[in-house]
């Protein structure tokens, strides 16, 4: 089984090297993932993210359902278009998936979840929806293109209609707006400004071509990974999964503890974990010398061992960075060791964020 996005032919036309990504044939790069990375940090790049799963949750009980389903509180959303990043937990407090929720009204929300977790996410949502008056509708008839970088907004502006331009004018980060055929959101996975744009399949190829013509560089999954890791953004399956608490995955900020009577799934487990204070935590690691930190390498600290959850070479910084889960007592600024190719190498602990808007942030 191999799914292809509506932009598959466009990738081949741009010389993409295609790989299997959880059943989807996706571009890993179009020649050099490092050049694509730099395009996003210094100019504008675009990613086909049509494989991601769009789910609309609509109905009288939509709000109550989502207040139970996810750890952040959608009741905080009161402005139409506002988005929220959060996690969906199982009863044991493990992360089933991370997701973005767009609020249109108390009876109308749009969720964007990972493609690799699509089947289990939909099964879980449908199971939890029993007894609520609502519909859960997958929207596979859309393509999605992320345009990211310091010049992304200006380059997209050249191909918007006056009506579309007016709708996105001055839109703050983490908002989305439906205008005509397009849903345009100021969200992303790179640490740069830009948009994620949901476009009907029939218009996707034309939109992608216009972006190419406007000088936006096509970028593959390789650059997407180095960009998100520099930005300190989690990748589901590596940095967290169903066995990991959001408290141990730098997702505590997406938990809404107030009001205390909101009974979200996993709440008792998280409350006990918080009281015990014994969950490990996700930190950043920086290696200034040669070598590249990689997933699953062991991190040796005076408080016990941890593990790198994802690591890479940072093209922006010129050395390796990683996210690692370590004992909670490890502090920012500590020097710890990583077992790399049979040697122990010293690395510095940082906050789990390395680059934002093109600049080093640790």
């Amino acid at each position: 089984m191999s799914n292809k996005t509506v932009l598959h032919a466009k990738h081949l036309a741009s010389g993409a090297k295609m790989v299997d990504f959880y059943g989807w044939e996706m571009p890993i790069n179009y020649g050099s993932q490092i050049e694509e990375h730099h395009a996003v940090r210094t100019d504008a790049g675009m990613f086909d993210v049509s494989h991601m799963t769009i789910v609309d949750v609509q109905g009288t009980d939509a709000k109550d359902f989502l207040r139970r389903l996810v750890i952040n509180d959608v009741a905080k959303l009161t402005t139409a278009g506002k988005a929220l990043y959060t996690g969906m937990l199982n009863e044991e407090g493990g992360v089933i998936d991370d997701l973005i929720i767009y609020f249109f009204s108390d009876t109308n929300y749009r969720l964007v979840v990972n493609s690799a977790t699509r089947v289990k996410d939909l099964a879980w949502m449908n199971k939890q929806a029993v007894g609520f008056d609502l519909t859960i509708t997958e929207r596979p008839e859309y393509g999605m293109i992320a345009v990211q970088g310091p010049e992304a907004i200006a380059k997209v502006a050249t191909l918007l209609s006056p009506e579309e331009s007016a709708a996105v004018e001055g839109m703050k980060p983490f908002f989305g707006v439906q205008v005509g055929d397009l849903f345009i959101a100021t969200t992303g996975y790179t640490g740069e400004n830009g948009y994620e744009i949901i476009v009907p399949e029939s218009a996707a190829e034309d939109f992608w071509q216009k972006l190419l013509d406007a000088g936006v560089a096509p970028c593959g999954l390789g650059a997407r990974d180095t960009l998100r890791l520099e930005a300190g953004m989690n990748l589901y399956g590596l940095d967290m999964d169903e066995t990991v608490s959001p408290i141990a995955a730098n997702m505590a900020w997406t938990i809404s503890w107030e009001p205390t009577d909101r009974d979200f799934i996993g709440r008792d487990v998280l409350t006990a974990q918080k009281a015990a204070g014994d969950q490990p935590k996700l930190v950043g690691l920086v290696l200034e010398e040669k070598g590249v930190l990689r997933s699953h390498q062991v991190v040796v600290t005076e408080f016990g061992n941890g593990e790198i959850t994802s690591g890479t070479f940072s093209p922006t910084l010129g050395h390796s960075v990683a996210l690692a889960r370590v004992p909670r007592s490890v502090k920012v600024g500590d020097v710890v060791e990583v077992e790399m190719r049979k040697k122990l190498v010293k690395v510095t602990v940082t906050k789990p964020s390395f680059v934002r808007n093109g600049k080093k942030v640790f």
Binding site: I34, G222, K290, G291, R341
Partner: protein, 129 residues
């Protein structure tokens, strides 16, 4: 299909070896190999005067994707390394059979070259991958 120059010899582990000149050969990794590894970020080379034996892991090509051992395709003494790779590891990607060479070896036994694959043999070995 990637480019496989006919004048070179190859190891199944994706190293190429030049024709010997005064008993010295140049070693690199193939275009096919660099394509598998992706953008190179560090190349760790042996030291000049190191004595190496066929099959030893003597260098490491570290790409964004993975670290990969490079094996000595012949036995001998390292007489020169490509110091340009220190600042420009991407030469291995852009010019695998030229500017991206790794090191030069003075052969212990020139007849060892006969154990390596020719271009056709290497092409069929990567077809089987």
């Amino acid at each position: 299909m990637s480019n496989i120059p006919t004048e070179l010899k190859y190891a199944t582990s994706h190293e190429w070896v030049s024709v010997a000149v005064d008993g010295i050969v140049t070693v690199g990794i193939t275009e096919h190999a660099q394509g598998l590894l992706g953008d190179m970020v560090f190349v760790e080379l042996p030291d000049v005067d190191d004595s190496i034996s066929t099959g030893d892991d003597v260098a490491v090509a570290e790409s964004v994707k993975a670290a990969s051992d490079i094996y000595a395709p012949v036995s001998g003494t390292v007489v020169e390394i490509n110091e340009e790779l220190e600042d420009a590891p991407e030469l291995v990607n852009s010019d695998a059979f030229g500017g991206g060479w790794l090191f030069k070896v003075k052969l212990d036994d020139a007849s060892e070259l006969e154990n390596l694959l020719d271009a056709e043999g290497y092409a069929s070995s990567i077809d089987e991958d």
